[in-house]
Subunit: 379 residues, 2 copies
């Protein structure tokens, strides 16, 4: 056996950070990227520019790779099956990945294995949405296209059947879900290898702003130990039942009445796990690489009592580099992770991590740095 | 200001790990490498293949770089001056770097600023070596070519004038030094920025085997606090007096009578600082990048009571990847850093880091992993 080649489909920041985590392992990293300007393409030596939706491109790319893994969930399932038929290990495989691609399939499967979810049903038109509402506590109702949504896109919260016209215009199935009365969002991140070893990161609190992840606190403050354990076990069970290989993020609602319900699944390194780059013994990216190569997994435990991640979104100022001077001078322990992306308002262009013993201090430092980089804090 | 381009001359593992540390900062990294197979060239996107001894190649490479820095000390001083005359910041600059290139210049300068060194003198022939020995405690005497030595190469320990013929054959000046009666070797690592900010890493113990660094323990066990402080101050003072920008490693002898003497200087990230990748809040590589860009420096303090680095040298078995299974399964906290280099007996091909509260345990884990990867431990 020699050092293997990991083929990564997709050139976003998750691929960039996976490459960073793979360098110390001495593995070869090969990237399929849309453009040479993509986040990961800027820092990887072996880059193929091409369209992941084209099977011939995928097949050509996969030649010489020992395993294929992903920066996103958008590769057509049938293409993944074709690669597998060619003898290329695809991790996670199509049978698992479909649950992160199709929210309808995901809900049906979670129901079947007894994982608690928000009340939900595939709906066919606005009148059906009204019927769904009437079956439960009425409006508001959450509507989601079953494929293609992310960061709040493809999601609508409607207060009446009249408001429910939009989601049906795309011509894809629509999933209706109850609007959960949650106190906060949590995420349970686990990593699983082909031979079934799995590790669980501490359950984190994930704070969203406008449908986009803003702040992650690891571990989730004040979370009841039994509930944390239940969330970890739930995520490990989902990974096992769905045959996930690699990183699985289970986004959860913590309800007012003390339950946890599954919101979304992601089968790749996830925004709610970015804290692990500086806050855990082994980062989610390092463990994802180890998992897809069927290497023993690394210790997921935290290195500090508290780690906070805050996303850096694009603001009105295109130049974030000059903000480094202030941010680094103010906080010599600050960890900046920028993705090499052009600044556009609201776009995730990086994140910062802070850690320490005092949660208030750790939170303040991360929020200040992210705000200063974005330009919303100027002192 | 936009994100800058750091030009790195030399494609070895130090460049590879500097690239790894630069990715999160979003900077652009450009590499001048001898071959596409070099350690860093395997993982960097923007690589120029060329000879650093050729000024035209250097000039062409430097175009579009915001700063030039180095993986090694071998770029001719006059070429560095030419780049500076072209208006390219060279960090460390030629006036500093010459002290890491020429041991004669280094000793003269350290004498001038009052830094304690082993007794030394430039010698002209074997008879002069005998005279040097007679001036002190006699043989053995250490002879070093003033330029080009590393990892024990270019160094002779001679017991008589008759044995002293070899060093003079190369036709370069030879430095004679007393053979210091030391109890152990230490290293003081500091980083300094152009505007004079500097940070000091904890002083480490460096254990050599056959002239090659084998084990580094951070911090140096049982080191008297006053002596540690003196070593840090000495390194900071050398960095300031010599105008170093970037990382400076000061290799030290701790003598039986409680003194510290400077052995060697290196002006780049250094083997004695590899522990910082997993053991310090900010690694030597991240701080080197920040320094050459004149960004505020990161906190150099340790994250764990003890961190141990053990080099992985090439052994008789060319396949180190298969050893990952055992090493990772045995120690889920182990940090492996491989350089992508072909295994040759005695060649540095990687290192491992371990950290924790119990030094004996941390040492055992690192030594076991390095030995297993090399093939000298098989269970």
């Amino acid at each position: 056996m020699t050092f293997p080649v990991v083929g990564m489909v997709g050139g976003g920041q998750l691929a960039r950070m996976t490459h960073e985590a793979g360098i110390p392992l001495g593995i070869r990293f090969k990237l399929l990227s849309d453009t040479p300007q993509d986040s990961a393409a800027q820092v990887v030596s072996d880059v193929v520019i091409g369209d992941y939706r084209d099977l011939d491109t995928l097949r050509e790319f996969a030649r010489g790779c020992d395993v294929i893994t992903f920066d996103h969930e958008h590769v057509p399932t049938e293409h993944l099956r074709a690669l597998e038929a060619d003898g290329i290990p695809v991790r996670p495989g199509p049978d698992a990945l479909v649950h992160a691609q199709d929210k309808g399939v995901m809900r049906a499967r979670l129901d079947a294995i007894g994982v608690p979810c928000p009340r939900h049903r595939i709906v066919t038109d606005p009148a059906d949405v009204a019927a769904f509402a009437a079956e439960g506590d009425g409006f508001p109702v959450v509507l989601k296209t079953v494929r293609g949504g992310y960061d709040g896109k493809g999601v609508w919260v409607v207060d009446s059947a009249e408001e429910a016209a939009d989601p049906f215009r795309a011509g894809v199935p629509v999933l209706a879900e109850e609007k959960v009365d949650y106190v906060r969002e949590l995420a349970a991140n686990v990593v699983r290898s082909p031979h079934g070893q799995a590790v669980a990161y501490p359950v984190v609190e994930s704070q969203q702003v406008g449908g986009v992840c803003d702040t992650v606190i690891a571990p989730a403050p004040g979370l009841d130990e039994a509930l944390a354990l239940r969330a970890e076990e739930m995520a490990l069970n989902i990974a096992k039942e769905l045959g996930v290989v690699g990183h699985l993020a289970v986004e959860l609602f913590q309800t007012r009445d003390g339950r946890i319900l599954v919101n979304e699944l992601a089968m790749r390194p996830h925004n709610s796990g970015h804290w692990s780059m500086d806050g855990a013994i082994t980062s989610q990216f390092a463990n994802h690489v180890r998992a897809v190569l069927d290497l023993p997994l690394g210790d997921p435990r935290p290195r500090a009592p508290w780690t906070v991640m805050v996303n850096v979104l694009g603001g009105d100022y295109p130049d974030m580099y000059s903000a480094y001077l202030h941010c680094m001078a103010r906080d010599p322990q600050l960890k900046i992770h920028m993705y090499g992306k052009d600044v556009k308002p609201g776009r995730k262009v990086g994140h910062v991590n802070t850690y320490g013993d005092d949660l208030d201090d750790v939170l303040e430092r991360a929020r200040h740095a992210a705000g200063y980089l974005r330009g919303t804090i100027t002192e």
